[in-house]
């Protein structure tokens, strides 16, 4: 049952992502991408990571994709002027597929052999996923977390400067 | 106090660079004055080195503090001088104020950067001479390279970029090989119990001949480029011609000495077997270099190029002296290094003087300057004759001892051929002098030339004093060097097999007693060795 559900969601995700790549109109691509993100959020829930699912929807599907759609509209880009040469197309697709084959092969061959951690479903349901993440962020990963804020600040400054009228 | 003098001296110019950064870059007078002050201070700081130097073979003014420790590598900040480096250090600190003073007017673009480069160069040169740690030496060796590159590349003549890149790449090729050899040497040393990069550790090392050969070749190549030896010399004329006066002066006076110093300090004592094997080759190159450079110098049209080629010839003499491996020859080689620093430095200054006035260095543009510039003519003549090696001037003492030492050693026939360079040097220097100074003053552009002014005379006076002092009373120089040279010679001879069991010489402090055994078992027959047990002439 669960596997079936997974397969359906996965199929939607793959189809949508294919549409991202193949659609001529960037807006369509963007919308397909949002769909993919939603599918991924669903999968996160299945993986007992509700907090991650939430921010996936909020940050990705919400903030970033809105930004992208805005930009597409702002620039008023119509469909792509032309495709790449068939040569490049062929190369790109074959390299991508090669990559897929390789990762697949790796997956088939390798096996998981790491120590299991302490977090399990029971703990998540008892303590709560958000709280666990929060604790971790504010204890073990405090410094990276703080640095993230600087990163974002820099990004904001950068974005503002770059989009000024006169560059 | 004694421990810090060397470090103080070495890093004083660096401090100067930092202060220089805060001087407004349009205040040229202050920039020049301050740089001059720094170099003079450095010179003053270095004077206690001579007065406090105890004449023996030990390293003195030692300072050894741990610096980098990474895995098996342990580098120390290990500095000290012995008789060999003492005078080279003094030469450096002595030449620097003169070089600064020489560019008082010549450089008026980006003065700040220029002065900073000169000071950095001084740090590099002094550091290389005082380092007793191979790794530290290598660092200073490279530090020297960069400011010189900029000095040629930014403040040089028309073809400066080519010259600067040529200089840089030539030197870099050699020094990278040297770095490889240093590391390889360290690994070899580790298996014999060496724990850090101090060169004292490596002197006693008994390497197998094959290893020695390769390492010697790497070191020798690096130094041969710097010397420069035929046929690796072609960067020198270009670098000299394009460099500004101070650059040429320092290049000739000090930088070239790095090569020969490297041979005495590293290549020769570290790899005695390889030295023995390659002596004929290097002596051949040196002799060919002497004759070759003299012949080429003879037909040069550019005064500076001529002097540059004469440097090649002079350094060839130094190499003959060093490789003759007896007290006279090495002594002569060392003296010749100092002499060359003084006289060729002075020659470059002289070329600089006329270049500043006429903006040309072509011999054909001159002629008859003696009439217009009598003081200049006198000084030029003194320096010329010092370069030729007239007795009574410094050039003679070194050249004579080199030839004498060479003749008394296995290099007898090489020396005979090299001696003819003495004739050739007279030919090309006098011919140049005649064409520049003698004859009719027929070029109208030369007719209003001004004679040297007070600053220029002040630059030349110390050099001229040194020319005569070293020519007439070289005893203090020779005496202070002699024990250290004895030691180097001892180290550079193939060691008797017994020594193979002792991998590391225990301590340098014991050296004076241990390096003078009652006989020289390793000396080949018929080789007129230094008389056993007595370093003659040193009571």
């Amino acid at each position: 049952m669960e596997t079936l559900f997974f397969l359906i969601v996965a199929a939607i995700a793959v189809i949508c992502s294919l549409m991202v790549v193949t659609n001529k109109n960037p807006i369509n691509s963007a919308l397909s991408l949002i769909m993919t993100f939603f599918c991924l959020a669903t999968l996160y829930v299945m993986l007992e990571a509700p907090f991650m699912a939430a921010i996936q929807v909020i940050v990705y599907a919400g903030a970033i994709m809105v930004l992208i759609v805005f930009v597409i509209m702002l620039l008023n880009i119509k469909s792509e002027a032309g495709r790449r040469t068939s040569h490049a197309l062929f190369m790109g697709i074959s390299v991508g597929l090669l990559l897929l084959v390789q990762t697949w092969y790796l997956l088939v061959k390798s096996s998981l052999s790491s120590v299991r951690g302490t977090v399990d479903s029971a703990m998540i349901s008892k303590v709560g996923h958000t709280e666990l993440i929060g604790k971790s962020l504010f204890t073990d990963f405090l410094l990276p977390f703080e640095i993230t804020s600087i990163l974002l600040l820099v990004a904001i400054v950068g974005a503002v400067v770059l989009s000024k009228k006169k560059l | 106090m004694n421990e810090v003098i060397l470090s103080l001296m070495t890093f004083l110019p660096l401090l100067g660079v930092f202060i220089l950064l805060f001087i407004p870059s349009n205040n040229h007078g202050l920039l020049r004055g301050f740089t001059l002050l720094v170099t003079v201070l450095t010179f003053l700081v270095s004077i206690p080195l001579v007065t406090g130097f105890v004449t023996n073979a030990d390293y003195q003014f030692l300072l050894n503090i741990p610096w980098i420790k990474a895995g098996p590598f342990k580098m120390n900040y290990n500095v000290g001088i012995d008789g060999i480096s003492l005078w080279l250090v003094m030469l450096t600190t002595f030449i620097m104020p003169i070089a600064i003073l020489s560019t008082w007017k010549a450089v008026d673009q980006r003065v700040k950067g220029y002065m900073a480069c000169l000071l950095l160069l001084e740090v590099g040169m002094l550091g290389a001479f005082v380092s007793l740690d191979l790794f530290l030496f290598y660092i200073f060796w490279e530090v020297m390279l960069i400011p010189m590159y900029f000095i040629i590349g930014i403040w040089g003549g028309k073809n400066r970029i080519y010259a600067a890149v040529k200089f840089f790449i030539y030197t870099m090729v050699g020094s990278l090989l040297m770095l490889v050899a240093i590391i390889a040497l360290y690994f070899k040393g580790m298996s014999a119990g060496v724990t850090d990069f101090s060169i004292l550790n490596f002197f006693g090392l008994n390497l197998d001949p094959v290893t020695q050969t390769w390492m010697f070749l790497a070191f020798a190549l690096a130094f041969a480029i710097k010397v420069p030896m035929f046929p690796l010399h072609t960067w020198l004329p270009d670098a000299h011609t394009e460099a500004p006066t101070a650059g040429s002066v320092i290049l000739a006076a000090v930088l070239l000495k790095m090569g020969t110093y490297g041979y005495v300090r590293f290549a020769m004592p570290l790899f005695p077997n390889a030295l023995e094997r390659f002596t004929p080759l290097i002596a051949t190159l040196a002799v060919v270099g002497i004759i070759y450079a003299s012949l080429v110098a003879m037909v040069q049209e550019d005064v500076k190029k001529l002097v540059a080629y004469s440097s090649v010839a002079h350094l060839g003499f130094v190499m003959i002296g060093l490789f003759s491996l007896n007290q006279m020859g090495v002594q002569g080689g060392m003296l010749q290094m100092l002499n060359h620093g003084v006289s060729t430095g002075a020659l470059f200054l002289i070329v600089g003087f006329i270049y500043e006035r006429r903006h040309t260095r072509l011999i054909t543009d001159f002629g008859g300057l003696s009439k217009q510039m009598p003081i200049f003519a006198t000084i030029f003549m003194i320096v010329t004759f010092s370069s030729i090696g007239l007795p009574g001037t410094n050039g003679f003492v070194g050249e004579f001892l080199v030839l004498l030492g060479g003749f008394e050693s296995k290099l007898r026939w090489y020396t005979v051929v090299a001696s003819s360079g003495v004739i050739l040097s007279a030919v090309y220097m006098l011919w140049m002098f005649q064409r520049v100074m003698f004859g009719k003053l027929d070029n109208p552009k030369n007719q209003n030339l001004k004679d040297l002014d007070a600053r220029e005379i002040a630059i030349m006076l110390p050099l001229i004093f040194m020319i005569f002092f070293m020519g007439l009373y070289p005893k203090p120089f020779i005496d202070k060097m002699a024990p250290a040279i004895d030691k180097v010679i001892q180290q550079s001879r193939i060691r008797p097999a017994v020594a193979a069991t002792i991998p590391v010489q225990p301590s340098m402090q014991m050296a004076p007693q241990s390096v003078k055994p009652a006989g020289n078992p390793a000396v080949p027959e018929g080789h007129p060795a230094v008389p056993a047990g007595k370093p003659a002439g040193h009571p």
């Binding site: 490049a88 790109g92 390299v95 991508g96 990559l99 390789q102 092969y105 790796l106 | 046929p231 072609t234 960067w235 004329p237 070759y292 012949l295 080429v296 003879m298 037909v299 040069q300 007896n326 007290q327 006279m328 002594q331 003549m381 004759f385 007239l390 007795p391 009574g392 003679f396 003492v397 004579f400 004498l404 030492g405 003749f407 008394e408 005979v416 003819s420 003495v422 004739i423 030919v427 006098l430 005649q434 100074m437 003698f438 004859g439 009719k440 007439l472 009373y473 070289p474 005893k475 020779i478 005496d479 002699a482 018929g526 007129p528 230094v530 008389p531 370093p535 003659a536 002439g537 040193h538």
Partner: protein
Amino acid sequence: MLDNVWLIPLFPLIGFLINGLFGKKIKNEAVIGGIGTLMIFLSFLVSCGILMQLVGMPPEQRVFEKVMFPWIHAGSFKADMAFLVDPLSAVMLMVVTGVGSLIHLYSIGYMHGEEGFYRFFAYLNLFCMSMLLLVLGANMLVMFIGWEGVGLCSYLLIGYYFEKKSAGDAAKKAFVMNRVGDFGFLLGLFVLFWWFGSNHNIWTINFVEIKAASHLLPYGGVVTLATLCFFVGATGKSAQIPLFTWLPDAMEGPTPVSALIHAATMVTAGVYMIARMSFVFIKAPETMMVVAVVGALTAIFAATIGTAQNDIKRVLAYSTVSQLGFMFLAMGVGAFGAGIFHLMTHAFFKACLFLGSGSVIHAMHHALHKGHLHDDAQDMRNMGGLRKALPITFITFLVSTIAIAGIPGFSGFFSKDEILWQAFANPYHGSLNILLWGIGCIAACFTAFYMFRLVFMTFFGECRINPKVKEYLHESPLVITIPLMVLGFLAFVGGFIGMPKLLGMLPNYFEHWLDPVFELANEYGKQYAHSGAHHSHALEFGLMAFSVVVALIGISIAYTMYMANKSLPEKFTSAFPGLYKVVYNKWYVDEIYDFLFVNPCKSFGNLLWKGFDVVIVDGVVNGTAKLVMAFSAGLKGLQSGYVHNYAMGMAIGVVTIIAVYVFR
């Protein structure tokens, strides 16, 4: 007094420093000249004192060494700044300082009004100092300072009129040729030092020590090598074949310089050096033969050239070369005393001749200058009949000419005859001695001929100078004529101190005086050539008479050609045009040297520079650089600037890396 020997070179040094540094400010010629002359005169006084003291000592103790300060001590090599006084150096001291003082005095008059007056005196003093160092040096190295020092001063003084190209060329030529000789000197020093050191552990270059150890030297072999090297040095300094060509050119210098340096003192340094090391040279019979042959050949060779020159100073220059050849001949046959004796008398009469010619040139120049003419003041074809205008010059000149020609009673006769006799009687060179003697006699004949040709052309006959300026010719001032008179007097009587025993009037003071110096050498000589053939007095008398006859023949030929029958020279030249041309052009030696050495050196240097340096070495260097550049120019194409291509590259890279990782 002996202890103060260092004063001798010091005085001229002081003079040099004063005149050199402050001469330009002093300006006053009398002061400058006075200082210069006074300084060398003081040296002369000290030298006299030393001579007196030496005379007062027993002959075998007449050696004194004074160490001033240690100079070069390196390893086993040891050279002090030290002076050696012995009878030989005392003689030389007297000659150098005595003749030197006179020439300084003369120069005050001769150089009057010259632009670089102070410079001239400074150089002259420096020269005297160097020469005195050469003479006094107690070891080869101090001698070598002087040896090169005089070369330097000769360079400076020949190039005194540096605005003339020929002067600059001549100066350079002189220095370089001297330098070739110095090269030989150094090699000789090396060989000797090495031989003594490695074979007997005697590491020395000190003359006294070498003399003490000279019994260890073998006959021939390594000694021949060393002495030959030294002899190369001597040929350079003393203008012998093959290095003689610089001396005639050196006449570009002012005349007092020619008198002092290129006649009286410097050029005799080679002779002095051989005498100084007589105990080494005598042990190398082959070298002795070479010395004798070279000396004889130079004597005749230079004499032939002298017959065809028209420049008054050049004739004297070739005469100097020729006379130096006589001295070397003496050295080569082991007659060291005779050689030094000739050196001394030659210094007197040749200095007098040069100064006399200077006086003539001075007068000529003065006259031509007044008449605004640009005729050559040194060309004898412009002279003639000057004896009336320049009486004092004429008389002194004539005395010296008679002396050099070898007329009995004058100094040159005693010394030259002694040399010829020794050449004949020496036991060293087997049957070669007759040949040496013969060449010497012919050279003497030539000498008499060209010297009298000079006198006749200059002082006799009708005056060929432009009549316009004839009235301006007059005798030189006293400051010029006094040295002439003194030297003329010496040229006359100087020979009596070395009168041969044969004539018996006076004991041969000179030879006795030098005996302690050459005793050892003579002894070695006897050891080598046991069969000291005894010659009868009659033979000696006969040869002496013969040499007088030879001189007279030379004089009479000159008289016939230049006084009695003036068309003869022209007839002669037109009869043998080729021969005349060759002789006039100095046997084309200069051209041969240019062809053999100078030009090949230059073109070889050019070839090395433009061929090897620029094309091959730099070609390899730049070629490497170009190779790298070409390679990177190819690689550059990969950087298309399209993001796609970079992305593709990245992707392919990732795939490759994974592939390597997976399928390794």
